[in-house]
Amino acid sequence: MKKIYSNADDALAETLFDGMTIAVGGFGLCGIPENLITAISRTGVKNLIVASNNAGVDDFGLGELLATKQIAKMISSYVGENAEFMRQYLSGELEIEFNPQGTLAERMRAGGAGIAGFYTKTGVGTVIAEGKEHKDFNGQTHILETGLVADLALVKAWKADGFGNLIYRKTARNFNPLVATCGKICIAEVEEIVADGALIPDAIHTPSIYVHRLIKGKHEKRIEQRTVIN
């Protein structure tokens, strides 16, 4: 089965529709599928629900889709780096569902693994717990969180083979392996597509079964907080 596409526009063909849910990998600007995000901004698809830990910055990452007002709702844990996000949220144009970071990761993992829900202590006694089932285990109160399944998953990896096996690099792994599992369709963009058999089977992070389409991208890899020793 052919998984390698020539570019991001081709890879996205016939996967997008208005009102769909898209899960996107990355932490801050680290390990984000920047080529696929930019390609979505060209399609005009709208009313998107985007599940991603962060919302990019004003002109890069998911900030591009906020600038074009294609996103109706974000499911995120932290959005503090994006002024346009704040403006759209405070003016009521954009909805936000805050998920604690670990809960968001586990929702994606569970959704991808066919687990409908799980109980966690995270968020008990806070607004996150409002309206959710509470249940005590071993004398401690937990809340029910649901697995998250997305119509489309977009991930960024370091290397892939032609089968779609993926390897990530350092902290650019972050949400990507979980995002890959929770999409009905998963598109991966990578820095390098290596020869079949060139990846070490023991070192593969995302097995090919989760990846449906694959492109080699060009990555700016913008740094959000450049901190160096003087």
Partner: protein
């Protein structure tokens, strides 16, 4: 004399014990890593997917794929391991991380913590803080004792949306060190020349 940011971080570093796995929050907590006492070996966790966080890089070794939870560029160490966000929060939620040192907007006398949003004003999000306070062994907070208007931040009950309820164990402010105990906040240490009377004027929480 009250403590400055670095002195608060230095005091917080004394909470670290040999062999601990520790998560440091964004802001003043990040400075704690500059003051880890000699002979104390701790492994720092960064919740974006790393154990064994090293110092900032040089211009030559900077790597866009290697950042901490504050999105700052960092380096790896001999002991470093990388993992995905679900594994990262499995070790947090599973109680494997011994201590978290976090910032705060408000703390109540019962150990409630508020540090993630100011309604209609500042919408940042909780990041990993709700998972951390629910899962780690011990929660230490570093914060200024009062806000920019001089108002108390150690309160009878928090006015801002909570990050967690009854979760804080110890608070380090620019005025001293306080433990959350049954009847309020117990004064453990005071900065030089700070008196109990000074504290009473700037603290709403019950001091014991």
């Amino acid at each position: 004399m009250t403590w400055d940011r670095n002195q608060m971080a230095e005091r917080a570093a004394k909470e670290l014990k040999d062999g601990m796995y520790v998560n440091l929050g964004i802001g003043i907590p990040t400075l704690v890593s500059n003051y880890i006492p000699d002979g104390v070996d701790v492994t720092l966790q960064s919740e974006n997917g790393m154990l064994g966080m090293g110092p900032f890089p040089t211009d030559e070794t900077i790597d866009a794929d290697l950042i901490n939870a504050g999105k700052q560029t960092i380096t790896e160490l001999d002991r470093t391991a990388y993992f995905d966000s679900a594994d990262s929060f499995a070790m947090i939620r599973g109680g494997k991380i011994n201590m978290a040192i976090l910032g705060a907007m408000e703390v109540s006398e019962t150990g409630d913590l508020a540090n993630w949003m100011i309604p209609n004003k500042l919408i940042k999000g909780m990041g990993g803080a709700m998972d951390l306070v629910a899962g780690v062994g011990r929660v230490v907070v570093i914060m200024d004792h009062v806000n920019k208007k001089g108002e108390a931040k150690l309160l009878k009950s928090c006015t801002l949306p909570l990050t967690g309820k009854n979760v804080v164990d110890r608070i380090i402010t620019n005025y001293g060190v306080f433990d959350v105990v049954k009847d309020g906040l117990k004064v453990i240490e005071l900065a030089d020349n700070v008196s109990r009377d000074d504290l009473a004027a700037i603290t709403q929480a019950n001091l014991v």
